[in-house]
């Protein structure tokens, strides 16, 4: 019980420090809540790839909302309200995507007249990518480089390039 209380206090302290720009405290906080969030996601999202995406989205949402955290209040309700919302939103998007894919699957014999629309969609999708994501996509999928070979070209680490590429694929999937 005392440990739990101490955890709550420690996370609130770390988050308050992160709000002041303390990267070390922020890293400690993210590593500390990582397993909790992973458990939370695993219970609600059964597909492994989807669970990875949801986990990343939660970390990103936490980061974007960090100015709203009030250090006088416990950290966990704030964190899990964000996590719950991200998972619910992704679930809703997944349902919409499934419904659309099923509809497309029901129209097998209609020929496609040209690729004009596809080009427009592709252009829109590529415009939605940030320069970093576009570079990651181009290196891995257009130039066909391995992740290890592409990372030095993009002047980044293998892990960071993976994240950029992963986000690029998700954006492209949404548009195409």
């Amino acid at each position: 019980m005392e440990d739990r209380r101490e955890n709550v206090r420690r996370r609130a302290r770390w988050m308050a420090a992160a709000q002041r720009g303390d990267g070390v405290a922020y890293r400690a906080l993210l590593d500390d809540v990582g397993p909790l969030l992973q458990r939370f996601v695993r219970v609600r999202v059964h597909d492994a790839e989807e669970a990875k995406d949801a986990y990343q989205d939660i970390l990103m949402a936490l980061h974007r909302a960090r100015h709203t955290y009030e250090p006088s209040r416990p950290f966990e309700p704030w964190l899990f309200a964000i996590a719950r919302r991200v998972v619910t939103r992704r679930h809703g998007e997944q349902l919409t995507r499934d419904a659309r894919e099923r509809l497309v699957g029901a129209l097998p014999e209609i020929p496609v007249d040209g690729d004009g629309y596809v080009k427009v969609e592709l252009e829109q999708a590529l415009r939605a990518l940030s320069p970093d994501q576009l570079e990651a996509f181009a290196l891995l999928k257009l130039d066909g480089l391995s992740i290890e070979a592409a990372a030095p070209r993009a002047a980044t680490t293998v892990g960071a390039l993976k994240v950029r590429a992963h986000r690029a694929y998700r954006i492209l999937r949404r548009f195409l």
């Binding site: 990267g23 590593d31 989205d57 974007r64 009030e70 949404r174």
Partner: protein, 219 residues
Amino acid sequence: VTLDDPMHRAAVEELTDGLAPVRRLWSPWVRLALWIALALGTVALAAAVGLRHDLRPQLDRPPYLLTLAVLLAGAGLAATLALLGAVPGRIRSRRARGIATGLLLLAITAALLGEPGATPSTRVFVTTGLRCLVCVGAFGLLPWVTLFWAVARAAPLDGPTSGLCIGAAAFLVGAAAVRVACPLDDPLHLALWHGMPVALWATGSMVAGGAWLARWLPE
């Protein structure tokens, strides 16, 4: 995903790399107090520029006071929901949606608390009514913009619900302002031209909230 997973490590690196300090939001209660001051100022302005010359005696009448109190209390409650709902973990969205819907019904009911008078011609009914409809929007506009901005600066989890609460709060202030400015007390006029605009503008605000307020969430 484990903590040793390169994906987790890369995400943490990306978030912590060059982490800048952020300015913490003021407490929702401080922001609410400021917004209420603005709302009361709007109603005071409407009383000063309005066409109602019997305002002082009207304020001594309990039904009139009750209508104003319901409209302003509804506005305050909706603004509270909007501001608290924009801080994760402060309020559950489903409950907020229920309360916001209840507030809209309350506003329309409050608008019905008038006194039957002489029936005007259709032309007069419509022209005076349209003026009130526009005035509810006009008086509610500044409260709406400020509240929308205050909510958008935070992290609203449910855009449409936040938008509905913002709209209900701002345009209930608009309805209260028009109630002190408009000399007509006919229940039909109040229901149609004071009450319905609140529902209309709040619905528009819900759409705007759905489009803009949840943009901070990763896509």
